[in-house]
């Protein structure tokens, strides 16, 4: 009896802790939606209200879309994140295949370098890369947003770990069937690694969709701005920030990621389940 009472007490504590954690993480989102739904008068009111008295979400959204070309910024975000992800996969998969399945001198040293690369924060290389892009004359362009991220050491590492679990026999069978080494990467390894590519895709898209730092450095033109810059656009020190519209814009910016994640999450879980059964 005492045993089961202890267990249920522990489970209560556990749930309280988990709920507290969930609230801490969800609160900013809730606050965002709440503020986005408030008219300006309520945003600055001193009392703390979660549900606005006057529901002003549509007005705020309308202001947001009117003040800035949000569609254009969302499109920029899609172009940049998709380009980065596609190029990262194009580079990471062959590299990971070589590191996982081919025998060559210096393989371990190369892999050590990849691991070392993971340790370098992107801010550390920001200035040299900026200067390089300046010399190339491609600052303030899509290329400046995409090129620095095409080689993802994290992607190479993740795919290499996954490829190591693909049986060698499968690679040998492909060689005997006459598939070239690059063919093996795309026809044999990629289909086997879809769950890992999806996982990597989630990391990559989230990181670059939300990236504020790099676009802020390399961009000047307004028409190239990515979604996080678009949100920042609503900050205005002189006229006072329109928080309702800003939060509405933030909601618009976050929405595609949420939808994409919910969609990818299903595939992700499917993928994990598939590899588990095998």
């Amino acid at each position: 009896m005492t045993g089961s009472a202890k267990i249920s007490l522990w489970s209560v504590v556990r749930h309280i802790l988990l709920i507290a954690g969930a609230i801490v993480i969800l609160l900013p989102f809730v606050w965002m939606i709440s503020t986005a739904s408030k008219p300006p008068s309520e945003v600055f009111s001193s009392e703390l209200r979660l549900i606005p008295r006057d529901f002003a979400l549509w007005e705020n959204l309308r202001t947001a879309f009117a003040k800035a070309n949000l569609w254009r910024f969302l499109l920029n975000g899609v172009i940049v994140t998709i380009s980065i992800f596609v190029l990262q996969v194009l580079v990471a998969l062959p590299a990971a295949y070589a590191l996982a399945k081919l025998r060559f001198i210096g393989r371990n040293a190369l892999f050590a370098l990849v691991l070392f690369g993971i340790l370098i924060p992107p801010q550390a290389t920001a200035i040299p890369v900026f200067l390089l892009l300046h010399k190339l004359g491609i600052l303030d362009s899509y290329a400046a947003l995409v090129l620095p991220f095409t080689i993802s050491v994290f992607g190479i590492f993740l795919m290499r770990q996954f490829f190591r679990n693909v049986p060698d026999d499968l690679v040998d069978a492909a060689r005997i069937d006459g598939i070239s080494e690059f063919g093996i990467v795309w026809r044999v390894m990629l289909p086997a690694a879809i769950p890992a590519v999806t996982a990597f895709g989630i990391f990559s898209v989230v990181a670059h969709w939300n990236d504020y730092f790099w676009p802020l450095i390399v961009l000047n033109s307004e028409h190239l701005r990515t979604p996080p810059l678009a949100v920042a656009h609503f900050r205005n020190a002189e006229a006072g920030t329109d928080y309702g519209a800003l939060m509405a814009a933030a909601m618009v910016v976050v929405a595609p990621l949420l939808v994409a994640f919910l969609f990818a999450q299903r595939r992700f879980v499917e993928g994990i389940a598939l590899t588990g059964i095998k």
Partner: protein, 383 residues
């Protein structure tokens, strides 16, 4: 259909030499098994033949032409793997189509969307389909062609893997322990099927296995490999009756051959466990080892004796395990009449005929022995 010649094949991984100079010729249409304990290098040798692993030295010749440095696919050999190595994302049909598509379609025709619009691709796809369906009928897998490997049982996957090898009509088939992942019953069944397939295809089969029973029952010739060396090559019966090395004698045959310590006396006669056999050897006096197969040990009478410690009754036959007088040496005797089995714990005398004796010197090599008097049967082919 091909004759495959291996000359002086050596292979080292870093400092360890896995293959130590293999010379072997596999005749056209032959079913040759490479057998040996695990780690003896037999799979590596197969991979060298397939071109998956470059040899450190030596030459592989297929039908008279040297294939060293030629890509695996260009050697036109098919390989069946222990894990079947089917592409998990492709149906059985597409798995079998891969080697044909790679060979018959151009790069443009293989493109995912564009390729399927080309009329030439459609024509070739029809011929590929016809070839696959023909093989599927032969292997009785026509109803499985649309399934993915995950939806197939082990035996079915195995057939698809064999089918993938067959459709390309290779010069030779290479099998790398293809039955090891199947359960015992299915393994015995597939053994017969593969042997039948070999007879109907009349193609060259090279079959790697660590299971001596598989090798004995299926192949026309056996090549026994032990720690990177070919120790003996010959017909299964020849290897069983006339092993050239004690390691071969111990590896081939189940249960394992009984080995007893012996001695060649100064007068050339052989002494085992205190008894002098009616056998002489021309070898210099010294220690030797005596091997006797379990079916040649006769229980009931004789100068030797032991305690029964275990009896395995298989129904049609039985194996009686004997412990020799106070030593930790054990013998296994096969008894054909299971109605007359000794009790466990009883003391039984036994004997064996002089011609049942396989004698080996202290280095493990077979030595010639001559039977005395009436039982004057000369041992054949001896090292």
């Amino acid at each position: 259909m091909a004759r495959i010649e291996l000359t002086g094949i050596r292979k080292s991984f870093d400092a360890t030499e896995v293959l130590k100079g293999i010379d072997l010729t596999i005749e056209n249409g032959e079913f040759l098994s490479l057998v040996g304990p695990s780690g003896c290098g037999k799979s590596t040798l197969l991979r060298v033949i397939a071109g998956l692993e470059p040899q450190s030295a030596g030459q592989v010749t297929i039908d008279g032409s040297i294939v060293d440095g030629i890509r695996p696919s260009a050697r036109n050999l098919a390989m069946v793997f222990q894990s079947y190595a089917l592409y998990p994302h492709l149906s059985a049909f597409d798995n079998m189509a891969v080697p044909l598509r790679m060979r018959r379609l151009s790069t443009v025709e293989r493109l995912p969307l564009l390729g399927s619009l080309l009329p030439s691709r459609r024509r070739r796809e029809r011929s590929i389909r016809a070839d696959i369906e023909k093989v599927a009928v032969q292997l009785e897998i026509s109803h499985l062609l649309q399934r993915k490997p995950a939806q197939l049982s082990g035996g079915q996957r195995q057939r698809v893997a064999v089918g993938r090898a067959m459709v390309r009509q290779p010069e030779a088939f290479l099998f790398d322990e293809p039955l090891s992942n199947l359960d015992a019953k299915l393994r015995v069944h597939m053994r017969a099927e593969l042997a039948e397939l070999h007879r109907s295809l009349r193609s060259t089969f090279i079959y790697v296995t660590h299971d001596q029973a598989e090798a004995m029952t299926m192949s026309s010739r056996l090549a026994v490999m032990i720690s990177g060396e070919l120790v003996q090559v010959g017909r299964p019966a020849e290897i069983y009756d006339n092993p050239r090395d004690i390691r071969v004698a111990e590896f081939v045959g189940s249960p394992k051959i009984n080995v007893m310590p012996g001695r060649i006396r100064d007068d050339g006669r052989i002494e085992v466990l205190g008894n002098i056999l009616r056998l002489t050897s021309s070898q210099p006096p010294g220690n030797c080892r005596i091997g006797v197969r379990s079916e040649r040990i006769e229980l009931g009478s004789g100068p030797f004796s032991g305690d029964v410690i275990h009896v395995e009754n298989m129904g049609a036959e039985a194996f009686v395990h004997l412990s020799l007088n106070g030593t930790d040496m054990r013998l296994i005797a096969r008894v054909n009449d299971v109605r007359r089995l000794p009790d466990i714990g009883s003391h039984v005398p036994f004997n064996f005929a002089a011609d049942a004796v396989l004698a080996f010197n202290s280095a493990g090599q077979r030595i010639a022995v001559t039977a005395e008097q009436a039982e004057r049967i000369r041992e054949r082919a001896v090292v």
